[in-house]
């Protein structure tokens, strides 16, 4: 058996040894089974973009019948939980304290203005701008309540031009349905990148990496032997997350398991490559974990389009997202769950993930060769 060549038998042996090591390591099991479950539960319940019952105040400065009718319209809205008041000063403090997200002022001369057809604004809406999203929501829906109320009063001549809107793939616009597939990408980043970075960094830290290197096994065999078990764990975790998503959280899986498996495999290539790269650079678990969090998890969380739409970011940051493998994975996952197998989207994404992965492995190859020279 030559030391230089690639030996399938040696690789099998290495994979077997590494797999045993993984199976005996309680923290690897924790990351594969417990962590995804906890994360899926948290993502599913904590992340919701569907706002309703936002607490606001309604200041009724007038006793007029019309004013009271409008106030009642606010109380009846399912978007708001209304705290009534007579004086705006009562509510200002609650807005500062964050208990109310804003308030509507129906002024003293509301009825009079309405009767004489005054051209000025009829009501004032104040929002808590320190939470910009909620503020826009309050402004938009409060405006909606006023408009609907006015239309109803004026005998509702139908608007001449109206929109008939339909949301495809997710008709109820349930934010869970697109957040949960995205969350799978985040969880896989944790498994692929963090776990590999830690495991291999530990080998460097303890010096056992050098011991393995001094055997006849080649660098390629050693690294493949290390990575393949984690590749398997990653796929198992994807499968587990998918079952949770479809059975526990009611997310439809309209695409095929085959496409899902292919996408997950393609994503694991850059994820594992990045973990390996971090471990060869850091060589101590503290730094490795910091790097994995800051170059792996946080970018996947913030820059993948999982929570924040990439198209809305500044141009330079959009360019940067092309380097984040999760970007391609999140978009594909949302499609495979909600739309079906759209190969015209999957294939370019798979290629892109493999290309990023090839880049990481190229850097690893350069780094490890150097380290052996020293």
């Amino acid at each position: 058996m030559s030391a230089g060549g690639f030996s399938a038998r040696r690789l099998t042996g290495l994979v077997y040894k590494e797999s045993l090591q993984v199976l005996r390591d309680p923290s690897a099991m924790l990351v594969t089974f417990a962590l995804p479950t906890v994360m899926m539960l948290v993502f599913a319940f904590a992340l919701s973009l569907d706002q309703s019952h936002v607490p606001i105040g309604v200041v009724l400065e007038s006793d007029g019948a019309m004013a009271q009718d409008l106030a009642a319209a606010f109380s009846g809205s399912r978007f708001f939980d209304v705290t009534p008041a007579r004086d705006r000063r009562e509510l200002a403090a609650q807005v500062v304290a964050g208990e109310l997200k804003g308030f509507v002022v129906i002024p003293q001369d509301f009825d009079a203005r309405l009767k004489e057809g005054s051209r000025g604004p009829l009501v004032q809406i104040i929002t808590d701008g320190s939470q910009p999203n909620t503020a826009s929501f309050v402004a938009a829906y409060a405006r909606g309540v006023v408009t609907t109320w006015l239309n109803g009063r004026e005998g509702a001549h139908a608007a001449p031009v109206s929109l008939d809107a339909r949301f495809w793939f997710n008709p109820e616009i349930n934010s869970r349905h697109f957040l949960i597939p995205g969350a799978i990408a985040i969880i896989m980043t944790l498994i692929g990148t963090l776990l590999t970075a830690l495991v291999v960094a530990r080998e460097w830290e303890r010096g056992t990496m050098e011991a393995v290197m001094s055997t006849p096994a080649t660098m390629l065999e050693i690294l493949l032997g290390k990575l393949l078990p984690y590749f398997g764990l990653g796929l198992i975790a994807t499968f587990g997350c998918t079952l949770l998503a479809t059975h526990a959280f009611g997310v439809p899986l309209r695409g095929s398991y085959f496409a899902l498996f292919l996408l997950a495999s393609a994503f694991l290539v850059p994820a594992l490559g990045q973990g390996l790269l971090i471990s060869t650079r850091a060589r101590n678990q503290l730094v490795a974990s910091q790097l994995a969090a800051q170059t792996g998890f946080l970018p996947a969380f913030m820059l993948s389009g999982f929570l924040f739409e990439i198209g809305n970011m500044p141009g330079w940051l959009q360019t940067l997202t092309y380097l984040i493998p999760a970007r391609y994975f999140v978009a594909s996952l949302q499609t495979v769950f909600l739309t079906g197998d759209v190969w015209a989207q999957f294939l370019p994404n798979i290629l892109a993930m493999l290309a990023v992965g090839a880049g990481f492995f190229g850097l690893v190859a350069r780094n490890t060769r150097k380290s052996l020279d020293v």
């Binding site: 309680p26 923290s27 924790l30 962590l35 906890v38 904590a46 992340l47 919701s48 973009l49 569907d50 706002q51 019952h53 607490p55 500062v96 964050g98 051209r119 604004p121 009829l122 004032q124 809406i125 929002t127 808590d128 701008g129 320190s130 939470q131 910009p132 826009s136 938009a140 405006r143 408009t147 608007a159 001449p160 031009v161 109206s162 929109l163 008939d164 809107a165 339909r166 793939f169 997710n170 349930n174 697109f178 963090l194 776990l195 530990r202 850091a282 101590n284 678990q285 503290l286 730094v287 974990s289 800051q294 946080l298 913030m302 924040f308 739409e309 198209g311 809305n312 739309t339 989207q345």
Partner: protein
């Protein structure tokens, strides 16, 4: 005296290494500056697929208005509705607009004219915002057609307190500060005892004359030093470089930072006292840290969560800290409000630190 020596040793062992020292300052600051720009819900540069079966003036006018809107990047004109379907499926457009052949005739005849809008539900959040923009365009157009005097007039006056233009960065940067400080503090403290245990030096520490209290205090100090430096740097960057108005009381904010770190050190040490190896410690930080972020209201408001989860969210120090730091920037939150959001962090810290002490003590016996 023994305590001082112990603290010096802990500081040295954490901060001697250049790579480590750098990893506490450089990357978090970079993250703060880069990632904060990602977090925007403002919709821009939208691509719209359009099928216009109508040759009349009214549809032409409407298309012009949509194409000229600020949020639109490109209107892709296609011939058939299935082409819209295909572009939507591939995520190449967010919205498809289909104007039927009788649109202009309906408008001219004063009948209700309807435009079909198809939206990618996978991007439901942006989709809803774009729909509201389109709604405004058609409402304005409709009002003009009717020549209604009051319809085009604003019937409500909106004012956004504290952040007039709803600049998203003002919201996100204080939040990111909290997250980054939290992660670093948790990792540093969680590793502290676990590392000694993995390397076998914990036994030496136990046979030394130091009491458990001294051991725990000494382990806290480096995390405090690192985290306070980080927080001070990030808050300065927020105020000086990003120009976020720091309207609240600075000493109170500083007090909140200290209490926040105190609660995190408690959580970190509790994890550390349980874990046997560094790897377990780091993984447990991730397992505990991410849920703490998710339920803190950073990503989505706490009020959107089911009420049982809102109760659990009270246990996340980040939740309380975000209220204070976001309140101190821009809002000038009154001292009483700051304090009423600060005491839960003290409580979390006391509970977790006592737990850590008990566990360390048990290992002693």
């Amino acid at each position: 005296m023994r305590l001082v020596a112990q603290i010096v040793k802990e500081l040295l062992s954490n901060l001697r290494d250049g790579q480590t020292r750098l990893s506490f300052i450089g990357p978090p600051l970079l993250q703060l500056c880069v990632l904060s720009f990602a977090a925007t819900m403002e919709v821009r540069d939208v691509d719209i697929a359009l099928v216009n079966d109508d040759t009349g003036r009214a549809s032409h006018e409407l298309v012009q208005r949509i194409a000229a809107a600020r949020f639109v990047n490109e209107v892709i004109v296609v011939d058939r509705p299935d082409a819209i379907a295909q572009l939507l499926e591939r995520r190449e457009v967010l919205v498809g607009v289909h104007i039927a052949a009788d649109f202009s005739r309906a408008v001219a005849a004063g009948r209700a004219a309807t435009v079909q809008v198809l939206i990618d539900g996978r991007r439901g959040n942006s989709g809803q915002i774009v729909l509201s923009y389109l709604q405004t365009i058609t409402n304005d157009y409709g009002a003009e057609l009717m020549g209604v005097s009051a319809a085009g007039l604003p019937r409500v006056e909106v004012r956004h307190w504290f952040n007039e233009n709803l600049t998203y960065l003002w919201f996100i940067i204080p939040g990111m500060t909290g997250i980054l400080v939290m992660f670093n503090t948790l990792v540093v403290t969680a590793l502290s005892i676990a590392k000694e245990r993995e390397q076998g030096t914990f036994d030496q520490l136990l046979v030394s004359p130091s009491s458990p209290l001294e051991i725990v205090i000494a382990k806290c100090v480096p995390a405090f030093v690192i985290a306070i430096t980080q927080a001070a740097l990030m808050i300065s960057v927020s105020a000086l470089i990003f120009d976020i108005p720091l309207a609240g009381s600075i000493p109170l904010l500083f007090l909140a930072v200290v209490l926040f770190i105190f609660s995190l050190v408690g959580i970190g040490l509790m994890l550390s006292s349980i874990c046997e190896t560094q790897q377990q410690a780091i993984l447990s930080v991730f397992a505990v840290g991410y849920p703490l972020i998710m339920i803190s209201g950073f990503a989505t408001p706490v009020e959107n969560m089911p009420s049982w989860l809102q109760t659990i969210a009270q246990g996340s120090p980040l939740k309380h800290f975000l209220v204070i730091i976001q309140g101190s920037f821009s809002k000038a939150m009154p001292p009483l409000e700051v304090l009423s959001n600060a005491w839960p962090m003290v409580l979390i810290g006391v509970i977790t630190l006592s737990a850590a002490m008990v566990i360390v003590k048990r290992k002693l016996q």
